[in-house]
Symmetry: C2
């Protein structure tokens, strides 16, 4: 069984095509369509050049099988002065349940800590039970200490895809 | 009735004390205690010096009666390449229902657009019905287009207050 530990690397601008395709496949799988490749590609290029964000690639046998995208913002919530948001985390379906997601998440947390983030935020569809279980297993919570109700994510967009 | 339009200004590092006190009062009102003044003050000072964030103060008669805190991060979700998070929005209880929150929110959106954010995110306690109604009235949604279930906010912290 090809269950060797994946190689985790920081994505560089040269990995923008790979990330773009993974992002499109991620969206297709969850019926949340992404913009076309040629629209998304320059966005990844720009993101990868921004010091306030980073992406990780999981490779096995030289092929990218998963990725994580993390962005940091300044915040007053901890001594480090930053919050990291895990904006994307995906492993190709055929390679799940082998711990690749956990290794990507651990790498995302490690690099976020190195960059002075004191916490990580993630938005998860309430119906995505697998993802919720995964994050809860890794110490993420959906309610603030002492408050027994979930926190909801709201958004408004004015520059829509 | 003292219902004049508030003055909205960008907070500067000189406003750190004012923001710190407002933040503490905000936390007290919602039983989510903040760190002590002397811990929070340098965090606000640092935040206000960071070009990736800004704060707005609402003043009436020279007194600060409300504030908003916004931080930006790079993202692949829109052509502007940034997401703005409204991390705090507060108006003193005695001055509510006079449109001050709406003016602060409008100012936060306007400045976020100017800084190339294509969308704004907010985390709201599910039990905070007033806040949810306020944001929904101003165009914020809790579910993605085409998906009829709320999105949840998860977090993990390793540098806790």
């Amino acid at each position: 069984m090809p269950d060797s530990r994946p190689e985790i690397v920081f994505a560089t601008p040269q990995d923008a095509e790979t990330l773009t395709q993974l992002q499109i496949d991620f969206g297709d799988e969850f019926d949340e369509p992404e913009p076309p490749f040629e629209v998304l590609l320059p966005r990844f290029r720009r993101f990868l050049a921004d010091p306030a964000g980073f992406a990780l690639l999981a490779r096995r046998g030289g092929t990218a099988v998963g990725y994580a995208v993390v962005a940091l913002r300044p915040a007053i919530y901890n001594e480090g002065g930053h919050v990291a948001t895990l904006d994307e985390l995906y492993v190709r379906p055929a390679l799940r349940s082998q711990g690749i997601g956990a290794v990507l998440l651990a790498g995302a947390v490690e690099e976020s800590r190195r960059r002075d983030a004191g916490e990580m935020h993630i938005n998860v569809d309430s119906g995505d039970v697998d993802a919720r279980r995964f994050y809860e297993r890794h110490g993420f919570r959906n309610s603030l200490p002492g408050i027994d109700e979930p926190v909801l994510w709201y958004f408004a967009e004015w520059d829509s895809d």
